[in-house]
Amino acid sequence: MKARSKRLMLVGGGVVLLVAAVALVLSAFQQNLVFFHTPSEVAAGKAPTGTTFRVGGMVEEGSIRREADGLTVSFAITDTAQVIPVSYRGTLPDLFKEGKGAVVQGKLEADGTFRATEVLAKHDENYMPPEAAHAVEQASKAAATVSQ
């Protein structure tokens, strides 16, 4: 083989490898994005059913209830305008509390309950998950427009 064609094969092989790798990355990326919706969006039916997404807001005061098995917990996430019932089985993060911010990830059931597979809370007392803060902010903005 001539040096020129060797070089060409090397470059060609490299390009093919690179294109394949990039295609793989991009397709995996598209399939695994998790979108975020505020409780108001979920209540308005803008959230998908059957795919995983995130909802953030405050854990509504007095909403945490434990089922008889002691492990399944139900609570409600609110952005102060709308309330979404959530059910979750497993241990909750240490900083999960009523009246504090939280983000849940999971799927919306047909009966309107959000079945969470993951519950995220804050890392310290003063920190609010940005998604939760965002949801509450959106809702209060919407409320302000309505009252005008």
């Binding site: 793989l24 995996a28 990326f29 979108f35």
Partner: protein
């Protein structure tokens, strides 16, 4: 008084950093030895003042001087001494000071271990490092002064985040920073080489040990961080693809590529511009990591800053560093020349393939980490990219990397015969596939992921054995001791680090396939079963610590009636911040961990307990240890010192001439 002295020392350090950044550079371009010689003392003086400043800050923490705002916000008079000291870097300002100190420490190391290099080259390296230091010290002084006073002083501090009050946190940040910042040396070498137009095998040889040592620190820092997450976060995971972890993983991937690319540049003169580009990118990703972690753009235990000015400052620094070095690269790289040619089937090709794959892997982590931040910053909605994406990308990208990693060392430099090489490794390869399938059946978990993982691990182990055997039989006739001695430390380093990858894969695969988890409600005397172990709940006592109240459960673990361990997980409430914490209890074994963490108490007085069975999880960290040891061996190779002596003679002759 002492905090003001610390502040003043920091200002002096900045002045010296400016001197170090400007004077030696001028000296190098005008060929004035006297000006070049300023670099070393300026760097050493700068280190002294930063060290002094750091000591002053630590003193404020130890003395619980709550008139210093940082101490008031991150310490408490009842905090154990160890955590008062580590609390210094458990916050934005202090951790940046630690960053600046590690940079300065690396620079001093360069001044000490560069006697054999040409003066002009050292002057440029120190100049580049000086500019990086100027950037960070002015960032500290302008936006994040660690010595800000709180007047009037408060009576009691708010304490360090309890998650950080842990032995793992004593060494994780310094190691990680030494790794991150260590790539600045490789970066400075690359920039100096671009400036001087001297980008040859000698340059690659000088860069190699520095890059490898930085990589060892980064590996150790990441491994310890992962270990900390495993036992401290209380739910048994070891890697979460969290943006902060990704921030350290991206430079690690590129650093790995850089080490291998430097090897080719040193041995064969090839890949020069690629190597320079990797050195620039690895350091840029370290800076980006600092930005992600410290600017407060992400939700994390690491994100301290909320002041947008700080984020902008780091971003500007990042843009300047990347912009200037890429401009310089675009200007100079075309003049550097190609270097040694090589055949289609050669060790160079295998290393090039892995370099491309590692870079793509790094880019994929960058995409998954930064894209959500971009969308959010542009107000285009909030999304998150979780572990499924990274797993979907990493398994197919890393599989060829691991296969090539063990095939490459069997190939000769320059040119080899593909047929002969394949015939050499075919038995080991086929055996690996069979072992993968067989072991998956034996452990009763036949999924493609388990089979693939086990086959890859078997491939690494078998090929390593074959490689070593080949190396030993190479010099037939010589005594065994002589044959072993003829193997260089660099070779052992490569061998160990690659074997470490195999051990790591065994851990990841088996813990991913076979781990078991049970959340259960338990009362005094109740039992629960998991993976053949019986857990008996023996009640909860108070176990208060110096700065927290705790409930400690006692759980007996038995297997087939024989006692295995008594585990004592805790639920703590840190008084100063009113913050609850789960403290898991783990029985660590060579082939499995039994892991218990305490949830909350519910109305009827029973507790929620999470039980985990984690087979082979220690192998993950054992693999990292082997990789680190490999790196140490490679950096300690005698060749660097022997050739350093030769370079020193050459440099001295040049000086005379």
């Amino acid at each position: 008084m002492i905090p003001e002295l610390g502040h003043f020392a920091l200002v002096l350090a900045l002045v010296l950093a400016l001197v170090q950044a400007v004077v030696p550079m001028i000296g190098a371009s005008r060929n004035r030895l006297a000006l070049m010689a300023v670099g070393r003392p300026a760097a050493q003086g700068q280190f002294f003042f930063i060290l002094f400043s750091y000591a002053c800050l630590t003193w404020a923490f130890i003395q619980s001087d709550f008139s210093v705002q940082l101490a008031a916000a991150n310490s408490h008079s009842a905090t154990p001494l160890m955590y008062k000291i580590t609390g210094v870097w458990g916050n934005h300002e202090g951790s940046l000071l630690l960053w600046a100190m590690s940079l300065s420490l690396w620079t001093v190391a360069v001044t000490v271990f560069s006697r054999h290099l040409p003066e002009a080259f050292v002057a440029r390296v120190l100049g580049v490092l000086g500019w990086v230091s100027v950037g960070f010290l002015s960032f500290l002084l302008v936006t994040s002064n660690p010595f800000d006073r709180l007047l009037p002083a408060v009576g009691e501090g708010r304490d360090l985040n309890p998650l950080l009050q842990d032995p793992g946190m004593i060494i994780h940040p310094p190691l990680l920073y030494m790794g991150y910042v260590g790539f600045s040396v490789a970066f400075a070498f690359a920039i100096a080489a671009l400036l001087s137009g001297r980008l040859d095998a000698a340059w690659a040889r000088w860069s190699r040990p520095w890059t490898t040592v930085a990589w060892v620190f980064l590996t150790a820092g990441i491994a310890i961080g992962s270990g900390w997450a495993y036992y401290e976060l209380g739910w048994g995971g070891w890697w979460f693809w969290d943006p902060v972890e990704n921030a350290s993983f991206m430079p690690w991937l590129l650093g790995t590529a850089l080490m291998h690319s430097l090897a080719v540049t040193e041995k064969r003169g090839a890949f020069r511009s690629w190597t320079v580009l990797l050195a620039i990118s690895a350091f840029s990703l370290s800076l980006l990591g600092t930005f992600i972690v410290r600017s407060g753009v992400i939700t994390s235990v690491h994100a301290f800053a909320t002041d947008p000015k700080r984020g902008l400052f780091i971003l500007a620094l990042l843009v300047i560093v990347i912009g200037v070095s890429l401009l310089l690269y675009a200007w100079r790289a075309p003049k550097l020349g190609g270097g040694g040619s090589f055949g289609l089937v050669s060790r160079e090709t295998s290393l090039l393939g892995n370099n491309v794959l590692l870079s793509v892997a790094s880019a994929s982590v960058l995409l998954g980490t930064m894209y959500p931040l971009f969308l959010d910053a542009l107000g285009m909605g909030k999304i998150s990219v979780g572990p499924p994406y990274f797993e979907a990308v990493f398994i197919p990208l890393m599989t060829p990397v691991v296969v090539l990693m063990m095939f490459g060392p069997f190939l000769r430099w320059k040119d080899d015969d593909l047929g002969a090489a394949v015939r050499k490794v075919a038995p080991a390869f086929i055996a690996s596939v069979l072992i993968g399938v067989g072991t998956a059946y034996a452990v009763g978990h036949v999924t493609w992921r388990t089979v693939l993982g086990l086959a890859l691990a078997a491939w690494v182990v078998l090929a390593s054995i074959q490689l070593l055997a080949g190396r030993i039989t190479e010099r037939a006739g010589a005594a065994m001791g002589a044959r072993l001695r003829s193997i260089t430390a660099a070779w052992w380093g490569m061998w160990l680090a690659h074997l470490g990858i195999g051990v790591f894969i065994i851990g990841v695969t088996l813990v991913g396939s076979l781990d078991a988890n049970l959340d259960v409600k338990m009362q005094n005397g109740q039992h629960a079963e998991l993976a053949g172990y019986t857990f008996t709940f023996r009640g909860v006592q108070d176990a208060d610590g110096p700065n927290y109240d705790a409930a400690r459960a006692t759980i007996d673990v038995t297997r087939d009636g024989r006692p295995v361990a008594t585990l004592t997980p805790e639920k703590r409430l840190y008084v100063a911040q009113g913050m609850p914490m789960t403290e898991a209890s783990i029985d660590i074994g060579p082939f499995r961990d039994v892991y218990v963490s305490l949830g909350e108490q519910i109305e009827d007085g029973s507790w929620i307990v999470s039980l985990y069975y984690k087979p082979f999880i220690s192998w993950i960290w054992l693999g990292c240890i082997l990789m680190g040891l490999g790196g140490i061996c490679a950096a300690a190779d005698r060749r660097y010192r022997r050739l350093a002596a030769r370079d020193a003679t050459v440099a001295a002759n040049q000086r005379v001439a």
